[in-house]
Amino acid sequence: MRIFDPHIHMTSRTTDDYEAMYEAGVRALVEPAFWLGQPRTGVRSFLDYFDSLVGWEPFRAAQFGIRHHCTIALNPKEANDPRCVDVLDELPRYLAKDGVVAVGEVGYDSMTKEEDEAFTRQLDLAKEHELPIMVHTPHRDKAAGTKRTLDVVRESGIDPGMVVVDHLNEMTVKMVVESGSWAAFSIYPDTKMDEDRMVRILQEFGTDRMLVNSAADWGRSDPLKTRKTGDAMLAAGFSADDVDKVLWRNPVEFYGQSGRLDLEDLKTDETFEGNSVLRGVRKDA
């Protein structure tokens, strides 16, 4: 089983995790910029974090046979802190980097005016840099927050196919699927979504435009939840090709829209017809 984890915070994980992920079939991942457990107090703190996402962490991942990409943004929670907001002026130079495959995580935490401003400004940046967008949906008041997210995306005029809306559940999946955006699910040990509920959602809504991630971070989480979801899909009667679509071809197609995925010479267990696998992959001259 080859796996592309489209959302995992490796900065918070150990080398044991990288080894276990490789063993489970993970060969590529995207690490979205987000908040740390400890609030940041200024712009410089963000820049060191972003530098790590395009510098040290890809090197660390590469030592374990895993390709690391990232998304860059001011996250919604810290968009409320006036000491942090000026980081928005620094984003363009990061959005020019090879390893940056989307703008994110953007969206809402508490749905404040400040979050609105940061969200719309970063949607504009994504348009300008022709990058996909990863949207976080709030943990509290999720359905209302997701609806408002989709309204803002619609008003921005961005192609919904360039947007992934993350951390969805039974209450929010339908509106995202109907909007034409990509639907993403964070499989957690005891919150958000689990493997068996995920299988039922895939049975009801199909495998098109569906992304499954572990979203593993500094909280209680499991970097092998992608693999466990693949196993649960097989046990429920999905084919190996269905699993490959959800866990590999879908994230490659979504992030491939950046033209910056680096998946050449990757050692995976399986090869596919070759049509969608390399789509959007960086081209070496």
Binding site: V54, G55, W56, P58, F59, R93, A96, D98, G259, A285
Partner: protein, 200 residues
């Protein structure tokens, strides 16, 4: 090593060559343009290893040529490209140092790279620029770090000229420490000791 050597080693498509020359003109006119063009180089010219320039990749060479287009004095702009770069960009700046005519002003970048644990940066930092400019103490520690983190000393420029008795002492101590721990002593230790012996 000159910009012309880099051009000769780069086997570019007409499209990529046109992009590179256009980018050089833009940077010469407005150095601020480097911020957008420098990260884009790998996407435009590729990242493959250059056949006739050992250790260099196409993006390294293209980025070195972009830095070479900066008007003088250029030390501040080069330092900025390093500070703002991802690790592929940082590596390219380090590789480019010998052709940029910066005198000693590139040394802070070399010292920064030698503090990292990214083996690609450590290797690039110990190139011809370090051989020509880095003080003895820092240079010896650079060689020791290469051996320690597994960067082949073949990447160290000027090794035969600069290896001395003090470097030999440091590596001998390192070898003893490894032997005491029952660990393997890298072959490169013996190679450097031989070179140091010939020197002294």
């Amino acid at each position: 090593m000159t910009p012309d050597d880099l051009r000769a080693a780069l086997d570019l498509t007409p499209e990529a060559a046109a992009w590179l020359e256009d980018a050089r003109r833009k940077i010469a006119d407005d150095p601020a343009k480097l911020a957008v063009l420098f990260p884009a180089a790998g996407r435009k010219v590729g990242r493959g290893a250059l056949e006739n320039l050992t250790g260099w990749t196409a993006d390294d060479a293209a980025r070195a040529l972009l830095l070479d287009a900066l008007p003088r004095p250029r030390a501040a702009a080069v330092s900025r490209a390093y500070a703002d770069g991802d690790n592929a960009e940082k590596r390219a700046v380090l590789r480019a140092l010998p052709i940029l005519g910066l005198g000693d002003e590139g040394l802070p970048l070399v010292r920064d790279a030698l503090r990292t644990n990214d083996t690609r940066l450590v290797a690039a930092a110990m190139g011809p620029y370090a051989a020509a400019h880095l003080d003895d103490e820092s240079w010896r520690h650079g060689v020791l770090k290469c051996v320690f983190v597994g960067v082949p000393v073949a990447a160290v420029a000027g090794l035969a000229d600069r290896a001395d008795a003090e470097l030999a002492r440091m590596l001998t101590d390192f070898a003893k420490e490894r032997e005491a721990a029952g660990r393997v002593v890298p072959d490169d230790v013996h190679l450097v000791l031989q070179l140091a012996d010939q020197e002294s």
